[in-house]
């Protein structure tokens, strides 16, 4: 176990800089998810920590050691790849014992460690099989076993669940989390799926275009995103955005079709803003202002109803925790609690505390 500290990390491929000076610290034993759209540089950070790419500038520490110029094999890390990267010609047991063999451990010791790990992961019946004889989920477990068996200081996961089907992914998510609780090894987990990040991580790092957008606990990101990008990226279904204007001294925020929202703190604002609405904050009844909404599409899942609707010439998503049957194209009144609304500066995207 160790902390991982990243200081002003930059990486260029040729003339193109893909990481623009990233800094953050991963506490000992934490599960950190790096999340962001494709090409945001999250995998690059992971590969730099692993030593698979050369650092252009900046520093990476694992524990107290500066590892910039340390060979991957001497960093005491383990990595799980998206395509599992199991050695196709070796059995499950040989795959898992590969790193221990390289550490020149005795045969008995390797066997014991592999068996123990295989039992934790429930693959102890598969030890003599080849990777091609395993299902996707089993391969995933073996790949994790290969990482766990050597008891590294840091685990690196590069989108490990994205090749699994939806149901198995949910199951593996829980298993991975349980495994982390048991081993308490510092973990860096790269994913483009914000649900994985939200459900598994202690700390989520949101990235965009090689920059750090926000670092925080999952629910803090959800409740108080620093900007419109984070607000839109975290949460599923995603937050809806509407343009609105207000004048100095007026506590009313006016939408493009003239409907208004009011909150005393709006009086301090003046100009154009972007309103952010979480799907669950638009409700059928309760406290707040009433709005006319046109229903454009409806998806019933049994326990919930997801509506795609038009509000003030923009699309909004509404998530109801109940069944709601309404004709498509119909206009319906919904309630929005001003306390739950997020407000963003339209120009900079920065969230405004109200």
């Amino acid at each position: 176990m160790a902390t991982v500290e990243i200081k002003k990390l930059r990486k260029s491929f040729g003339d193109v800089e893909t990481l623009h000076g990233i800094s953050f610290t991963i506490p000992e034993g934490a599960f950190v998810a790096l999340v962001g759209p494709s090409g945001c540089g999250k995998s690059t950070i992971l590969r730099l920590i692993a030593g698979l790419e050369e650092i252009t500038s900046g520093k990476i520490y694992i524990g107290d050691d500066l590892i910039n110029d340390v060979e991957p094999k001497n960093r005491n890390i383990a990595m799980v790849f998206q395509n599992y990267a199991l050695y196709p010609h070796l059995t499950v047991a040989q795959n898992m014992g590969f790193s221990l063999k390289l550490l020149k451990k005795s045969k008995a010791e390797i066997e014991r460690a592999v068996k123990h790990t295989a039992e934790i992961l429930g693959v102890d019946k598969l030890l003599h099989r080849l990777p091609k004889q395993l299902s996707g989920g089993q391969r995933q477990r073996v790949a994790m076993g290969r990482a766990i068996v050597r008891q590294p200081k840091v685990f690196l996961f590069d989108e490990p669940l994205s090749n699994l089907d939806a149901k198995l992914r949910v199951q593996m998510r829980a298993e991975l989390k349980a495994l982390h609780r048991r081993l308490a090894t510092t973990t860096v987990y790269v994913t483009h799926d914000q649900i994985e990040a939200m459900t598994m991580a202690d700390i989520v790092v949101v990235m965009r275009d090689g920059n750090l957008e926000q670092v925080g606990r999952p629910l803090d990101l959800y409740d108080t995103p620093v900007n419109q990008f984070v607000a839109g990226f975290i949460g599923s279904p995603a937050m809806s955005f509407l343009p609105a204007t207000t004048m100095a001294g007026s506590s009313e925020m006016v939408l493009s079709d003239g409907q208004t929202l009011s909150k005393p703190t709006y009086a301090a604002l003046d100009g154009r803003y972007t309103i952010g609405l979480r799907p669950e904050h638009i409700r059928l009844s309760g406290d707040g202002a009433s709005f006319k909404v046109t229903i454009e599409a409806s998806e019933q899942t049994g326990s919930e109803t997801l509506l795609l609707a038009g509000l003030a010439d923009h699309k909004v998503t509404i998530l109801l925790r109940e069944r709601f049957d309404t004709p498509i194209g119909g206009v319906h009144a919904f309630v929005i609690d001003p306390a739950a609304i997020q407000l963003f500066d339209t120009k900079t995207g920065v969230r405004i505390e109200t």
């Binding site: 698979l52 383990a78 790849f81 395509n83 990267a85 390289l102």
Partner: protein, 278 residues
């Protein structure tokens, strides 16, 4: 005619066609073997007999006692095996490097490898001969091998296989697991290239076994001939006695056919991989 009957009819036509082609291909071979067992008188009979009326082993006896045929076969075998080992080794190493380490210099070297493939051997045969002569390697396996240590097509074949079947992550996983580069090559890359390397080995072996122009200019002593050179030499010395040549050729075919039967699958893979038959 029903569809079923049509399929049956076309299958039958296909069988007949293949059978006829098969006969056409096999007849000269059978005739060659048969000739080895014929007396000189029967050799000249027209039309030629497919099966000798009065089979004799005399031709074979004469060939093995009067010419160093076994020696030639041994020379060819030594040359072919050493050439195969060298080509497999150089192709595996170079193919892996050009496939997985795409630095600019490596790419330039790869293009140079490919460029050698478009220069016909005949162009540099003579200069190479003088070099081998200067090195004092005439009439030795060493001299014979000089042109047959590297095969540009082999490097290309292995490179394509490396790119197609060995993902980068596998090498990266091994690096993180603590493996050095040579270790990775030996324990991860080579086992995964077993199929293409076996196919390449078959190609390389037969290339060396059947080569003619280079051995005939570097091997001038009768005892150091390869089998191809020996057979050619035979022909000019014994033009009248066709039965002796037939017997020698038939004897020489034995190891080739044996090797083909044993390595049939690799052979087919090799031809499929190269997309050509020489």
């Amino acid at each position: 005619m029903s569809a079923n009957a049509r399929v049956r009819r076309s299958n039958f036509l296909l069988d007949v066609t293949l059978f006829v082609i098969c006969i056409l291909l096999l007849t000269p071979l059978i005739l060659l073997i048969a000739n080895g067992f014929k007396t000189p008188q029967e050799m000249l009979v027209w039309p030629p007999t497919l099966f000798p009326k009065d089979p004799t082993l005399q031709n074979f006896h004469k060939v093995f006692t009067e010419t160093p045929l076994l020696r030639w076969m041994f020379n060819s075998l030594t040359f072919a095996i050493l050439s195969t080992i060298a080509i497999v080794a150089t192709s595996a190493l170079a193919g892996y490097i050009v496939g997985k380490f795409p630095f600019r210099t490596v790419n330039v070297i790869f293009i140079l490898f490919l460029a050698t493939a478009i220069i016909p051997f005949e162009v540099y045969m003579i200069p190479l001969y003088f070099q081998v002569k200067a090195l004092g390697l005439l009439n030795s396996v060493g001299g014979l091998l000089i042109g047959y240590l590297v095969m540009s097509f082999g490097i290309f074949l292995i490179r394509q296989n490396v790119i197609a079947s060995i993902p980068d992550e596998l090498l990266e996983a091994a690096r993180i697991d603590g493996a050095g580069e040579l270790w990775i090559f030996w324990y991860v890359v080579l086992p995964l290239l077993r199929g293409p390397l076996a196919a390449l080995a078959v190609l390389a072996f037969f290339q060396a076994w059947t080569t003619f122009a280079w051995p005939i200019i570097v091997m001038t002593r009768k005892t150091s001939f390869t089998i191809e050179v020996g057979l050619a030499n035979f022909q000019s010395a014994y033009t009248i006695d066709l039965s002796l040549l037939s017997a020698a050729s038939a004897a020489v075919m034995v190891p080739s056919v044996l090797a083909f039967v044993l390595l049939r699958r690799n052979f087919v893979e090799g031809i499929a991989a190269s997309g050509m038959k020489e």
